[in-house]
């Protein structure tokens, strides 16, 4: 039995390493490609070891961009992505936590109706209503703006539900103690409920930041100006040059740069990430 245990463990280690290899290989290839010479890659002669063009490729990617297709520095695209991701994450948390607060801690006419109006938005992702949404954003003159990028993606119920669920677990006596201690609704929210929600907010922030950073279809529709495009859109445009040679090292460097922030968030804040993921899917 003990010997068999040892053997089984050995197998488990091997399977896990194979899994890691499968998961990591495409990214490794991208990184390697981003350090090599374009001509070599275009000939199908790419080496599986890193080349010597790391600094020059990344410098050009971040500060200059491709010479053929987009000509937009990827640093700028990353900035746009960052603004959009932060706006979505912070905006969603902010509007959700206050509406959840109202729904849980007050009784008012149409309370349940409002809850259901918000709740139903859970069901439909932005993809199924893209054109009408596009039209509204256009009518509001928000094309090519950060507001246009972020606002329609803030309209969702997940965060509201999460906060509602959390608030329900906060003991009633805390509110009563606060009332006796002379705190009104806003004070209770700010002094007690908000600090208690910190972990939930952080977990949610991690998830929403990743989802925001990775948005694709919506920015694709509403950004027309090159200086407003996000990094995900930038990659796609770099690949559009079918006649001219695609500048593969720059495309791959952009891919690596596009992965870096969200992957960093997942690895560095793994606990919060896992918690956020499990909570938002409940």
């Amino acid at each position: 039995m003990v010997e068999q245990e040892g053997f089984r463990r050995y197998v488990a280690h091997i399977i896990l390493w194979i899994g890691i290899a499968i998961v990591a290989f495409p990214v490794y290839v991208a990184f390697v490609a981003s350090t090599q010479d374009n001509a070599l890659i275009a000939n199908g002669q790419m080496s599986l070891l890193p080349g010597g063009h790391f600094f020059e490729v990344y410098y050009q990617t971040i500060f200059v961009g491709t010479s053929g297709s987009t000509r937009e520095p990827v640093g700028n695209m990353m900035f746009n992505s960052l603004v959009m991701a932060l706006a979505i994450a912070i905006g969603k948390i902010a509007i959700s936590i206050i509406s959840a607060y109202a729904i849980v801690y007050f009784r008012f006419p149409f309370r349940m109706a409002i809850f259901w109006i918000i709740f139903i938005t859970l069901m439909l992702p932005v993809e199924v209503r893209i054109y009408p949404t596009y039209k509204i954003v256009a009518d509001l003159h928000m094309l090519d703006s950060y507001a246009g990028l972020a606002l329609p993606l803030i309209a969702s119920a997940t965060a509201t539900l999460l906060f509602r669920q959390f608030f329900m677990t906060v003991p009633d006596e805390l509110l009563e103690a606060s009332r006796i201690d002379g705190a009104g609704p806003l004070r209770f929210f700010w002094d007690t409920l908000l600090p208690l929600s910190r972990t939930n907010m952080a977990a949610l922030f991690v998830i929403l930041f990743i989802l925001g950073w990775n948005q694709y279809l919506w920015p694709l529709l509403i950004t027309t100006r090159d200086d407003m495009q996000t990094i995900q859109i930038g990659i796609r445009k770099m690949m559009t040059t079918n006649d001219a040679l695609t500048e593969w090292p720059i495309v791959m460097a952009t891919a690596v740069l596009a992965m870096l922030p969200p992957v960093f968030v997942v690895v560095a804040m793994q606990k919060l990430f896992v918690r956020g993921l499990v909570e938002t899917e409940k």
Binding site: I15, I20, V29, A33, I103, E127
Partner: protein
């Protein structure tokens, strides 16, 4: 379930829900309503006049063989992506659930692809398996396979499925790990004492106890395959070659933006909405049984 301890205020709660309500109404309900209305309208070729045509857009859609092909293709993609990704993730999770040295490291190394954006996934895979310059294509050719996803529809579909399944492994892995951790060790120990060998223990105890997780993930994976694959497909194949990798969402996008057929695109959106509502409904019924709010 309701709170007993609450605040009294007439206006404050409305002020607190107002921002979310405004955003939801403007960017969610209004467009959704527009989509439904639009799906009953027909625009002439120049976009000059619009007429109300009842269900004509829908009828036309249903009489179109291409639409049915797309429906079937989308479901096939979903099924293929879900099963392949789920089985790999389950295998890895079962291995990582063992008390191994370095277990936390394995977990970290397996979950990060969750953070990779769909279009990036598309770029990575298309580069790796590019017919002329992909590093893996060399080996496929050496093995005697005529590999060219730019021309061969089946190969393009395979590529999309592989890439989409790859991205979803980490997500499924995480939820399987959580599901496995929730199985009481004593049950497995009892099974061991009852003489069940590890493999048998897995199929007769672990797997049935994991079935709620599996069902939940199945629904999530199908929704993922419906919507999140858009970015993968758009950077990888643009739906091609021909229409061999066009899914329902991609068709909405194509017919609406590229083809300019807003009525048909809206009708497709409405059908998609109904599909998602049904899927989410199934999921909620299931979730409600397991978790009580």
């Amino acid at each position: 379930m309701q709170k007993q301890a609450i605040f009294q205020s007439k206006l404050l709660p409305y002020a607190l829900v107002a921002p979310q309500l405004a955003i939801v109404l403007i960017f969610f309900y209004w467009p959704a309503l527009q989509a439904v209305i639009q799906s009953f309208l027909l625009q002439d070729a120049f976009g000059l006049s619009t007429s109300f045509v009842w269900f004509e857009n829908y009828l036309e859609l249903f009489s179109e063989p291409a639409y049915f092909e797309t429906v079937v293709r989308t479901f096939f993609f979903s099924f293929a992506i879900a099963t392949s990704s789920l089985s790999v993730a389950l295998l890895l999770a079962v291995m990582a659930d063992k008390p191994l040295r370095g277990g936390a490291v394995y977990r970290t190394l397996l979950i990060w692809p969750y953070a990779v954006a769909p279009p990036v996934v598309g770029v990575l895979w298309v580069f790796m398996l590019h017919p002329s310059l992909g590093v893996l294509s060399r080996y496929l050719r050496a093995a005697g396979i005529e590999w060219n996803p730019l021309l061969d529809g089946n190969q393009a579909a395979t590529l999309v499925i592989l890439a989409a399944a790859w991205k979803q492994i980490s997500y499924n892995f995480l939820f399987f790990l959580a599901g496995l951790a929730a199985i009481p060790k004593s049950v497995l120990e009892a099974a061991a004492i009852d003489g069940a060998r590890p493999m048998r223990r897995f199929w007769t105890v672990t797997f049935p106890l994991l079935s709620p997780t599996i069902f939940f993930l199945l629904v999530v994976n199908i929704v993922y395959a419906f919507f999140d694959t858009f970015g993968i497909i758009d950077t990888m194949t643009r739906g091609g070659p021909g229409t061999s990798t066009v899914t329902l969402v991609y068709k909405v996008y194509n017919d609406g933006l590229i083809g300019g057929n807003l009525g048909s695109s809206a009708a497709q959106s409405v059908i998609l909405m109904i599909m998602v509502i049904v899927l989410t409904g199934i999921q909620f019924r299931f979730v409600e049984r397991k978790v009580t709010y």
